[in-house]
Amino acid sequence: MTFQTATSHIQFAGSILLAFLCFRNYTRISLPIKVLGYYSLSSIVFQSAQIIVIAINKKQYLNQIGDGFVLAETVMLSMVFLFAFNQRIATRTIIFLIVAYTLFYAGQLMFNENGYSVVRSGRDILMIALAIGYFYYLIKKQPEKDLLKFSMFWVSAGVIFYFSGTFILSLFLSYLTKASAPKFVAALWGIRNLFRLAFCLVLSHAVLLDIKKGAYGTNTF
């Protein structure tokens, strides 16, 4: 088993853990965390599809599945922030950003041969911007309690770390696939998988915090 395959399985387990925590406690978690559950579920579905394709297609990835997950991931994580902000202006802005990104995504994949790299970079920037926006919202609202006890703080922190970590990889993805040795790309992808595992663990911590506080207990002020 290669490093990339091993880390891929590990991060897949991370997604399963996240989905398990969310759906096991579905009635006790707040709306943004419920969306996080659907995000992890979509991750499981896309990864399962990729595993099946690899099994059938003699170890060849199907890029379209990965590209599809990029859109699903962007929309769902944006929805997490949309419900977390719970404000009209933020809702409108995020809906606009989702629509704009979807159009950008479709345009890039249809007309740009390096579009898969561009859409991933765009996703990373959008996610980082939403996380920073949520941090600003947290500071502005000045909750009385310790920030580290807020589930959405951990979600934002996870998002900002994970997508900052993958941004450079996304940016150079097309260059790497063309100019670098497949082993090097596989190694980088393995590191990206480890980032994603850490992301899933941070999100799981956020879910556990949310379960402790009860639905809407911590995310709305």
Partner: protein, 259 residues
């Protein structure tokens, strides 16, 4: 010129590391900033509380000084004038032409008025508190209230008494005075026990065997503004005031002052 694989790896690592550092800086800033804001808010709340306490203290001090002035006026001015009137009436009573019964009645009224003025003056500012301290003042107050109300109010002192500053003595005296007044008015008890225990802290207990009251019910006169005022008075001198919730019969109020 295209970068080599090792050059690219270095650049890639630096760029990713930079991004992660930036992310870390943002998260750290948010945590640090929020903690700082919380501290600032806490500090502001403390300042507001201190200011309110100072205002309350100033108000109570001015109340006490006004009481002292009134007591002095009553005792020195009206009391003295009444004594002079009494003497005049006495000299008039020697006059044969006057109705003796009427003069006696007037004398009695003047004596009663003098007693009332003395009592009011003493209640306003007991001179014994200033001269002999808190324990003597409470002892005298218990004796007076026993005489007036007919309810026995024994006062027990345990331990070696220490001298407190005047402001604290006045506050404690007023608290005990209000508690005894409340017990006489509302408790329907047959006895009111007052005790003071000196140690690392001064613990004053005022308890009765009456009907008691629920300190959690905000609409009763005892647990409403009166309780709030007493707690405020206690807080100003760094004491704690509470009602013993486990007290089965009647009411038990406890004032604890660290020494």
């Amino acid at each position: 010129m295209e970068p080599t694989l090792s050059e690219f790896t270095i650049l890639f690592s630096i760029a990713t590391g930079g991004m992660l550092l930036l992310a870390f800086a943002i998260v750290f800033f948010v945590i640090f900033y929020q903690k700082k804001m919380l501290q600032a808010r806490l500090h502001q709340q403390q300042m507001e509380t201190e200011f309110q306490q100072k205002m309350l203290l100033a108000s109570l001090e001015s109340q006490e000084s006004e009481r002292q002035r009134l007591a002095g006026e009553l005792h020195d001015s009206i009391g003295a004038m009444l004594s002079t009137i009494r003497l005049s009436v006495l000299s008039l009573s020697r006059n044969e032409g006057l109705n003796k019964e009427s003069v006696e009645q007037t004398k009695k009224m003047i004596d009663d008025t003098i007693d009332s003025v003395r009592r009011i003056s003493r209640d306003l500012m007991p001179s014994i508190l200033e001269k002999f301290g808190l324990m003597h003042a409470i002892t005298e107050m218990c004796q007076q209230y026993t005489t007036v109300s007919g309810i026995p109010i024994p006062f027990t002192k345990n331990g070696e008494g220490k001298s407190l500053d005047k402001a604290k003595e006045i506050m404690l005296f007023r608290l005990v005075q209000e508690l005894i007044n409340n017990a006489m008015k509302h408790s329907q008890g047959t006895v009111i026990n007052v005790s003071a225990t000196w140690g690392n802290q001064l613990i004053i207990i005022v308890e009765d065997d009456g009907i008691g009251f629920n300190a959690d019910e905000k609409n009763t006169s005892l647990s409403g503004l009166g309780l709030f005022n007493m707690q405020n008075r206690a807080r100003i001198i760094g004491a704690e005031f509470s009602y013993a919730p486990e007290w089965q019969k009647g009411t038990r109020a406890i004032i604890t002052l660290p020494l």
